[in-house]
């Protein structure tokens, strides 16, 4: 139990005993008490039980006794009415107010009432104070809990926090940031400016971006902080609060987010990208040269030494040359596929109808002996990388013509429509060999082929290229096929706002 409660308990005891005492004695003298009052002040005839009223009454009465002593009273009466002594003698009640016995009795009861009143007032005051103290204590306790919570949060926040004064000196810094930097709090607070922790080459920039007093919370500054060990740590710094409340020196609170993971990932990606580039560069140079030699020298053998080779010998040479060429094509396609991932999109507005028509003409011209009917609808325009989309159409149309090679009349249809979900869907439908839908997931993989080499040529990279290009444009690509009835390829391109 704490002290205030004990004090309260004690005061309650005092209060209780006084009340008890008063109640016990009231009956004995109340009559006289009331009576004596009545003689002087009819106003106070009815004694109230409240202590304060009693105290007041007593004071008034007692005061009257004091200030209106019989002699003085006469003077007062004389002053008032001009008839000295008359007031005293002609009192209508006919009571002698100055009878000693009555005075003592009255004094006793008044005395008790006075102290009861004082006690009650003190008790009330004590109770009030006690209540206030308790309330205050509860608030203080809440405040302390909140403060402790805040300090814990401040120190263990997942981000660094620090505040600086108007001169840029660090006035507070949390454990997280201290941990990152490897300093003790005493080494920093009041001793270092925040800009002292920023890399030399970034100091000016940092000072500038932090000096502006109107920095808003959305402003983010990317910096490299220098650890005590001399290493750097990349962070994103932002202003949490600018204190403009009082006349106190301006103080600003900042948060810092550790950006090293992001930097490391970025560096890793850059490194991988660099490696990949070196890899494909090397493939591009080194893998093709031997193939050229295989093909070239086989050809020289075939041409210049033909007389020394029999039919089988010539056939074997042809097999070697065909494979060398095929490998060359595979390398080219694979390099192209790799390049697509790295190339940045250069979008412009494109008439899809115009592009499709020109590719169709080009491809149909290569098949003069075949009957190919191509219907090109009015296609929606698109905001795309023209070179890449040309490849998409080229591969899809080339496939359509290739895989209708065994039908008497190839019927190819190209159309487009808006899906209502902010994208345009383009369709290429043919009546060729189609494919079994169970192999649909393989269709767009690299080097995946669904047909035998002797039936249809190809490297199996075309549709992988299509998929990559469409993905890079933010669209989707899929196909629906029925074996021996044809296939429909679909791809979507998001409708881009021209201004973006």
């Amino acid at each position: 139990m704490n002290k205030p409660i004990l004090i309260g308990f004690f005061l309650a005891l005092v209060f209780g005993s006084v009340i008890y005492h008063y109640l016990n004695n009231r009956k004995n003298y109340s009559r006289e008490w009331r009576y004596s009052f009545a003689g002087n002040h009819s106003l106070h005839r009815k004694a109230s039980t409240t202590g304060l009223a009693a105290a007041l009454r007593f004071r008034a009465d007692f005061g009257h006794q004091r200030f209106f002593h019989p002699d003085m009273k006469m003077n007062a009466g004389l002053n008032k009415k001009g008839t000295p002594g008359l007031l005293q003698d002609n009192d209508p009640t006919g009571k002698d107010v100055n009878t000693p016995s009555t005075t003592v009795k009255k004094f006793d009861s008044g005395y008790i009432a006075f102290w009861v009143g004082i006690t009650l007032a003190l008790i009330s005051l004590s109770l009030f104070l006690l209540f206030q103290i308790r309330k205050r204590q509860a608030v203080t306790e809440q405040f302390n809990v909140a403060r402790a919570d805040l300090i814990t949060l401040f120190n263990n926040a997942p981000c660094g926090l620090h505040s600086i004064d108007e001169k840029g000196f660090i006035v507070n810094i949390n454990n997280t940031l201290l941990g990152w930097l490897g300093y003790e709090k005493v080494e920093i607070v009041g001793k270092l400016k925040f800009t002292d922790l920023v890399g030399k080459d970034e100091q000016n920039g940092a000072e500038q971006s932090l000096a502006i007093s109107q920095v808003s919370a959305s402003d983010k500054v990317r910096l490299n902080l220098i650890k005590k060990s001399g290493e750097t740590i990349p962070v994103i710094l932002s202003v949490v609060r600018t204190d403009g409340l009082s006349k106190a020196p301006e103080k600003r609170l900042f948060s810092t987010v550790d950006n090293s993971e992001c930097r490391d990932s970025l560096e890793r990606i850059k490194h991988l990208d660099h490696e990949l580039e070196a890899f494909s560069y090397s493939i591009s140079h080194d893998l093709r040269a031997p193939l050229r030699s295989i093909d070239g020298y086989s050809r020289i053998l075939q041409e210049d030494y033909a007389v020394k080779l029999d039919v089988e010998g010539k056939r074997v040479l042809t097999v070697i040359m065909n494979n060398a060429k095929r490998m060359g094509k595979l390398i080219d396609d694979l390099l192209e596929f790799g390049r697509l991932g790295r190339k940045t999109l250069q979008r412009s507005h494109l008439s899809m109808t115009g592009m499709v028509n020109s590719i169709v003409q080009e491809l149909v011209a290569l098949e003069p002996t075949r009957k190919i009917e191509v219907k090109v609808g009015q296609l929606h325009r698109a905001f795309v990388d023209v070179d890449m989309i040309r490849q998409v159409w080229f591969h899809l149309l080339q496939n359509a013509i290739k895989f209708t090679g065994k039908t008497d009349l190839a019927a190819i249809e190209i159309r487009s429509y808006q899906t209502g979900e902010g994208e345009t869907c383009y369709e290429v439908k043919d009546n060729g060999v189609g494919f079994d839908m169970q192999y649909a997931p393989k269709l767009f993989g690299v080097f995946q082929r669904l047909h035998k080499m002797q039936d249809f040529s190809g490297t199996g990279v075309g549709l992988a290229i299509v998929k990559r290009i469409i993905s890079r444009h933010g669209g989707r690509v899929w196909a629906e096929g029925i074996l021996n009835q044809g296939v429909t390829f679909y791809f979507t391109i998001p409708i881009e706002d021209e201004n973006t």
Partner: protein, 141 residues
């Protein structure tokens, strides 16, 4: 390899097999009579920047990926030299990497040809290069 006639074609190529095919293709069209084959960039620079050279070749066929001094460096040296920058240089390489093409043109290359893997196309390409630079083109004196 010393020859009596003035060099018309300077072939700078480290891969002997590739060089053989190029020479074979040129020979087929009688274009390889005054050809000098150098095997890497270092050799090429030594030849081009020596006093031995009396007349400038009609064309330099330059491979890019070579040991020691690569083709890009040879091209840079030729094109930054007051006297030699007028020599037509044709890059003849396996690579069609964008950065190679861009860098070559930035340095002032006269043509950039990607060697086809297919021998028919290769022979055709080499023959066209030979005809164009030896017969059609008017070189600086």
């Amino acid at each position: 390899m010393k020859i009596l006639n003035a060099v018309e074609i300077l072939l700078i190529e480290d891969n002997p097999d590739d060089a053989g095919l190029t020479i074979h293709a040129l020979k087929k069209h009688n274009l390889a009579n005054n050809l000098l084959h150098l095997h890497d960039g270092e050799e090429a620079l030594a030849y081009l920047f020596s006093d031995e050279i009396t007349s400038i070749p009609k064309v330099i066929l330059l491979d890019l990926k070579m040991p020691k001094v690569d083709g890009i460096e040879v091209l840079r040296r030729i094109k930054s030299d007051e006297r030699r920058k007028i020599i037509p240089v044709v890059v003849l390489t396996s690579s069609k990497e964008d950065r190679d093409i861009l860098e070559s043109y930035n340095l002032g290359v006269n043509a950039y040809i990607v060697k086809p893997v297919d021998f028919d196309k290769f022979v055709k390409a080499i023959a066209e290069i030979g005809f164009f630079w030896l017969l059609l083109n008017q070189p600086p004196k």
